[in-house]
């Protein structure tokens, strides 16, 4: 069996002591970051990027991935106990999770979200094992024109889900792509837009951009904002759901996982969309729908299984096509490129230990997470009581040390600060900087494939429309753009909330 052979390669990679430890560190940090509202997984992965310079690529990826899906577990804890989502994708969990906590069923809610998260994640891993190699095989047929178009599709998808709207999202993508052109052009050897500054010849460093835009500027936003820590009692009462509650949760968990896997695989959409759609759909299908919003167990099971399935399947387009499913995924692509690994359809064939090792590490990581989230749930409840102001100065200094440590360069520290201010100003003007990072990571590849496709077509720009694969991908991008004219967001939010609005605190 091919699959078994692959999985044993993966097991051999994932089960080394080093990779297990870093996997645990990753999911632990992920849960930590997820529990605390204010700093998200994106900032955490950005901050850990320098560490990857000192680790082998598969270990680095195992850890960064752990932060990413660990945050999905942690995000629901604040949703349930505080009615404040720890991560954006956990906001739907507030709708039923917080009422459950108010009824004294916080233990049951936390237990069932952990189980649902595990279920969704495992579902996502199976989808990934079955789908990713096929998709990669298919993508091997791609020529430069298709590569260019699939990247355009990914960039369009990433920008339309941006909270600042499609036009502004696309503007951010363009700005990121332009930022990526700074430095030496690999084709001609000419320097571009460096303004004669020697340090810019190698281009702007991904670490500097990511830490500035998502570490520094997020702290600026959160530093003096009103924060709230948990003042309620420790967990009392039952932890285990009743038999009837288990039974009622099975079908919703399956449906949530399926929806999550779909949206996770679709580049650009990701966990938040998955959990919203999952909840909205479940509310139409479930017999118990009248209870939704009043503390129905299905209401926490569905979004949590959906967003965890999506967190795992987001790796499918990232690792098989080189198209990041989300901004955090773009950072992981960046981490791979730092190690000289080009993400794309050849990745699974060229680096089987990396791909299958990562897949197997997901299984270990989720087992760690289950342990962290059920027997050790008390730690996280206590963490919510700690005032948040301890966090922000720490983050700032860790960014400084991390950036400085890479090449002992204080110029990099100043550059990070500049990008932090840029990110803050962009946020003030209602430009969400996330698509900019995706543009920055994909920009150089986009240009490379564009130029190569034009060369192959002897200068005929219609090549992108005359090749059926490329045309279909561009048509999909155009359809997505057209779809933004419809008020999807209002529909989803409305249908998710009509059962009973979450009570104001």
């Amino acid at each position: 069996m091919d699959l078994l052979a692959n999985l044993s390669v993966g097991l051999a990679t994932a089960a080394t002591a080093q990779n297990l430890i870093y996997c645990f560190v990753g999911v632990f940090l992920g849960t930590f970051i997820g529990v605390l509202p204010g700093v998200g997984p994106l900032a955490a992965v950005a901050m850990l990027l320098p560490v990857t310079f000192y680790l082998p690529p598969e270990t680095a990826l195992v850890m960064l991935a752990g932060v990413y899906y660990g945050a999905e577990y942690g995000g629901s804890i604040a949703s349930i106990l505080l009615n404040i989502p720890g991560t954006p994708s956990a906001s739907v969990t507030c709708l039923d999770g917080y009422p459950m906590a108010q009824q004294g069923r916080a233990g049951v809610a936390l237990f069932s979200t952990a189980m649902a998260s595990m279920f969704g994640a495992m579902f996502g891993v199976v989808v990934m094992i079955l789908l990713a190699p096929r998709l990669a095989e298919f993508a091997l047929l791609f020529q430069p024109a298709e590569y260019f178009s699939v990247m355009v599709l990914g960039l369009v998808a990433a920008s339309i889900v941006s909270s600042s709207g499609a036009v502004r999202g696309l503007m951010m993508v363009c700005l990121g792509v332009l930022l990526g052109t700074i430095g030496i052009d690999v084709n001609s050897g000419e320097t571009r837009f460096t303004g004669g500054i020697q340090e810019l010849r190698d281009g702007v460093s991904l670490v500097v951009v990511a830490m500035g835009l998502f570490g520094i500027s997020e702290v600026m936003v959160a530093l003096r904002g009103a924060t709230q820590s948990y003042a309620g009692a420790g967990l009392t009462g039952r932890l285990l759901p009743t038999g009837a509650e288990w039974l009622r949760s099975i079908m919703p968990a399956l449906r949530g996982s399926a929806i999550g896997s779909f949206f996770g695989t679709l580049p650009g959409t990701g966990q938040t969309v998955a959990s919203f759609v999952g909840y909205a759909l479940e509310k139409r299908l479930n017999r118990n729908r009248a209870q939704f919003g009043k503390g129905a167990i299905e209401g926490v099971v569905v979004p949590e299984s959906a967003n965890n399935a999506a967190a795992q399947t987001a790796f499918i387009p990232t690792l098989t096509l080189g198209i990041p499913g989300s901004t955090t995924m773009a950072l992981m692509l960046g981490a791979l490129m730092i190690h000289g690994i080009t993400p794309g359809p050849r990745l699974i064939a060229d680096h089987p230990d990396l791909f299958w090792g990562l897949v197997v590490s997901f299984v270990f990581g989720n087992i760690f997470l289950l342990i962290l989230n059920i027997p050790l749930i008390g730690i996280w409840v206590r963490l919510l009581r700690v005032p948040h102001y301890y966090l922000y100065p720490t983050v700032i200094v860790l960014i400084c040390v991390g950036v400085f440590g890479i090449s002992n360069s204080l110029t990099d520290v100043w550059a990070t600060l500049i990008f932090g201010v840029i990110g803050y100003v962009l946020r003030l003007f209602r430009f969400e900087p996330a698509p900019m990072l995706i543009g920055f990571v994909l920009g150089p590849m986009l240009e490379e494939y564009f130029r190569r496709a034009m060369l192959l077509s002897r200068g005929d720009p219609t090549v992108f429309l005359s090749r059926p694969g490329s045309a279909a991908l561009l048509a999909a991008a155009a359809l997505l753009l057209a779809a933004t004219l419809l008020p999807w967001k209002e529909w989803l939010v409305r249908s998710a909330r009509t059962a009973g609005r979450p009570r104001a605190r």
């Binding site: 003096r224 700032i396 200094v397 034009m454």
Partner: protein, 146 residues
């Protein structure tokens, strides 16, 4: 005045787009369709950014978007924290710089009391030493002159 600020975002973007597009067109080789020079792609994307900025500008004229209110103290706290780190590291080494930077950034959080600031500052320095210098083995000068 307020009206101008609302449109400043797209205007800045337009300027960025123009900077890259004009820079590419004037100082870089554009090449031909078949063999594109280093300037062609930035010109295209810069042009696209200009176009989108104009769309956003028109959009903003029809339905103005609210600009978020900035918090100068938060920006000052973060900027001076990073600046303290950058200035002190060559003089004192990483650990004292870390300790001072934590305190400087913490100064702008009013509910953060002095004893807590000091505890955090010492704790973070110890963590930096443990994780970065001992754990990851990054060659940093912990304390200069030691």
């Amino acid at each position: 005045m307020r009206g101008l600020i609302v449109h400043l975002g797209p205007i800045l973007m337009l300027m960025a787009g123009l900077f890259f597009a004009i820079g590419a067109a004037t100082s870089l080789d554009l090449g031909s369709f078949r063999r594109m020079g280093p300037g062609a792609f930035p010109l295209l994307v810069g042009g696209l950014l200009c176009l989108l900025s104009l769309v956003a500008l028109v959009d903003g004229l029809r339905a103005p978007r609210d600009v978020r209110r900035g918090d100068p103290w938060a920006v000052l706290g973060v900027v001076s924290g990073v600046a303290a780190f950058a200035f002190l590291t060559p003089l004192t080494g990483v650990l004292p710089a870390t300790a001072i930077a934590v305190i400087v950034t913490g100064l702008v959080i009013p509910e953060f009391r002095w004893p807590h600031r000091l505890i955090l500052s010492v704790g973070v320095s110890a963590a930096v030493w443990l994780v970065f210098i001992t754990g990851l083995g990054i060659p940093l000068v912990a304390i200069r002159g030691l």
